[in-house]
Structures are given as structure tokens and as C-alpha cells.
Amino acid sequence: MNPPIFEYFAPTGIDEVIDILAKYPGEAKILAGGQSLIPLLKSRISSIPYLVSLSEVKGLSYVDEGKEGVRIGAMTVDSDLENSELIRKRFPLLHDATGQLADPLVRNVGTIGGNLSHADPANDLPAVMIALDARFAVRGRNGSREINARDFFLDTFTTAMEPEEVLTEVTIPFWGKKSGGAYVKFKKNTWNFSVAAVAVQLELEGNKCTRAHIATTSVSPKSGRMESAENILVGKALTDEVINKAASEVAASAQPTTDPYGTEEYKREILRRITREAIRKALSRAGVN
């Protein structure tokens, strides 16, 4: 089916993009890769009178290593992240997620900025960025501001950005020397969303966990940290007993609902198992066996 009729703009400058968004408040929307938006338009779930494409704005696709972290341009496609040696080495959690996102054809077009701005709690990157403690540069009429990933996702399909603001860059800070992360995703087939997925990022001193971030996908109305489970890990050596306790806490504090992907009970059990697996994987990547 064709998408509903819309006006299309493809300006070459980011300020022009913001001007068009400001001219049609609430009626204009950014088109990044379109791998979520175009299916929504085609199925007529959404109708957007004014689409503003970022495709002609130069310089929004890059993965750069800085002193304090890695900077990623908002229009960087998922497959470029998946194939980035820098990401694989520094942030295996993100590498895990990009390799499992949708399918290879979608990953060749879908962008990190689109994935995050869409704020679908079934998308993988929101949980990943929250777990990694990423920061988002957001540009509007009065210049740029920074929003922490954990404050960015307000609700399903709702972010902390104003209607005329655009996400331009993601910064992932480096974690301590002894740190590691993992993303474990449980899905029944390629073309469906996950039943559940979990992002875990840990930092350790000796055998003791000093910092733990856990965030989930597909099992809550918005992506957020699982603080009660994190608190079980922090300050302790991560024995099987501690790991199991934290995994059970994630399963208990998530908010899954019964839907065609499974019953609430089933999803909690999946979540418990994949959290246990993700913590173990993160731990081994941090150099602890």
C-alpha cells in the first residue's frame, strides 16, 4: 500500500531542517532511515503531513573515538555500527545489539538516530544506550543541548525532545578498565520484535562489582534502568547466587503484558534466564571468570 499523501523536504542544512519542523509544529516529522516510519505510513497506522528528510544533510554519519568516549553521528546506519571494529572492541554490548537488530537489509538503511528518536520500547538501542550511560546531543532553535539516555525516553513513542528538535549525535563514555557488557535478545524469528531482551554493563574492582547498569527491551512501556536489580550487584563479588538473585529481581520488577508474543508469566521467565546469561557474559568480558 502507498503511504498517505505528504509534503517532502530534503534540506541540506540542519538549521533549515529545524526551521521546517518549527513551521509545522506537531505536523512535521524527521525521516532518517525510515525503517520504522515508512512501514507505519504504509500500513496507515500513522499519517504525517510534512516529512523532513535528513538524507541530504552532510556530516551526520560517523563513528569517532575521542578522549572520553565514542561519538556517533545520528545518521550512521546500523550495519556500519555492526561492522565497526572500534565498537566491537570498546562496547561489545552495542556490537551484540546491532548484529541482532531486525535483519541485515533493514540494518543497511536504519539509523541509530531514528532507532532512538522513535522511542519504541521494543527497539533494541534505547536499552543499550541507557545501560551504557550514553548522552544525546539534540539541536533546536536555540542551539544544542545534551540529554542523558536515561532521561530521554519519557513513554512509548515519546522522548524529551521538543517537536522542533533533532537528535544529531550520540556519545558513549568509556567505562573503567575492568568493565564489560552484553546484550541478550530472545526472539522467535527474524521479522518479529523480541519477546524480551536485556542490556547489561558492569564495572569491577578486583572481584567486586562497583557499577552495574541493567535495562530491558520489549517488557515495559518505556525503556529504563532496573535499579533494584542493579543494587543487588553493586558492592558484591558476583557469585552465582548474587547473579541469580539479580536476574530474578529483573524478572519481578519488569512490566511485561500478555500478548501474542507470550503470557506475562512466560516473559518473566525468559527475562530471568536471559538476564542471568547477560550478566555472566558481561562479567567474562570484563575479565572475570
Binding site: F6, A10, G34, I38, K42, S79, D103, L105, V109, T190
Partner: protein, 174 residues
């Protein structure tokens, strides 16, 4: 009235310039404007990959890209693989030799995804093949023969090379 947009897309080496409605999908542009009906549309939900084409060196779903987004880009469709030559492209020939198709509906997408994979990876493993075609559905479920075809194509590409390389006007960087 929504204003039409002027676009110029290079399809299999030929520049196609026209005015289109912004909502026109690339798949519809290829089939209805360029007249290349080898690109199939097998779903309306971005799941099946029958519409796969190569855009600037990457395999993509042409039903989930607007024609206006492809402005200025180079597209390779199934017709481009053996364009101007009597012989089939090695990847096409492998699908014939190893019975990699039943009804044929998914085949052009399968072949273009395979071509993209084989241009980027040498000595592909079965695991890599299965991962690469995970976005392409065969509703006859003939996956084993498709995987065999791609293994065979990998060998043929090694031995015979890629005939598209000899046609810079068709070649898209991959």
C-alpha cells in the same frame, strides 16, 4: 495538491529522470516507471525481502525506501545482473544449477542479497549465509537448496569473477 519532486536515479547504469509524488516507493518506481518488473513486492510490512535491490553497494528493501530518498543514488536490480550479456550471472546460474527456487517469487531478492554477501565476504560459511538471508522469506520454504545455491555461487564467483566488474556503467560499489 502535494508538489511532485524531480528525481534522478541511476538504474542498472541508465539514468532515469522524472517527477514523482513524494510518497512513491522505490519498488513502485522500479516496476512502474522504470518498467523493471523483476523486483517483486511480496508483503506490505517490510518483512519478506522480495523487493531487495542493491543501492550504492548495499542490499536494501526497495519497498521501504521512498523513490525521493534514492535521488542521486545508483541502483542494481535483478535485470542488471546479466544485462548486455548472453550468459546468466554466476549467482543466477548457481540458483538454476542447485534448484534454488520453487515458485520463483522470492528469487530476485534472494539472488541480490546473495550477491551483496558474496561481494563482501570470501569463503562464506553456512552460518554467514543463513544470517545474510534472514531478511528474505521463501514461502515455499526451500531454504536448503537456496543455501546450497549460495555456496555454489561463492565458488563460481571465485573462479569466474564478477562479470559486472567489466561493466563499470552497471557496477555499484560494494
Amino acid at each position: 495538491m502535494v508538489s511532485k519532486k524531480h528525481i534522478s536515479i541511476t538504474v542498472n547504469g541508465e539514468v532515469k529522470e522524472t517527477e514523482v509524488e513524494p510518497r512513491m516507493l522505490l519498488a513502485h518506481f522500479l516496476r512502474e516507471v522504470a518498467g523493471l518488473t523483476g523486483t517483486h513486492i511480496g508483503c506490505d510490512t517490510t518483512n519478506c525481502g522480495a523487493c531487495t535491490v542493491i543501492m550504492d553497494g548495499k542490499a536494501v528493501k526497495s519497498c521501504t525506501i521512498l523513490a525521493v530518498q534514492a535521488n542521486g543514488k545508483k541502483i542494481l536490480t535483478i535485470e542488471g545482473l546479466s544485462k548486455g550479456r548472453e550468459k546468466l550471472h554466476p549467482v543466477q546460474q548457481s540458483f538454476v544449477d542447485k534448484h534454488g527456487l520453487q515458485c520463483g517469487y522470492c528469487t530476485s531478492g534472494m539472488i541480490l542479497t546473495s550477491y551483496w554477501l558474496l561481494k563482501n565476504r570470501k569463503n562464506v560459511t553456512e552460518e554467514e549465509i543463513r544470517a545474510a538471508i534472514s531478511g528474505n522469506l521463501c514461502r515455499c520454504t526451500g531454504y536448503d537448496n537456496i543455501v546450497e545455491s549460495i555456496k555454489d555461487a561463492s565458488k563460481k564467483m571465485e573462479e569466474e569473477g564478477d562479470p559486472i566488474e567489466e561493466h563499470p556503467e552497471i557496477k555499484v560499489r560494494a
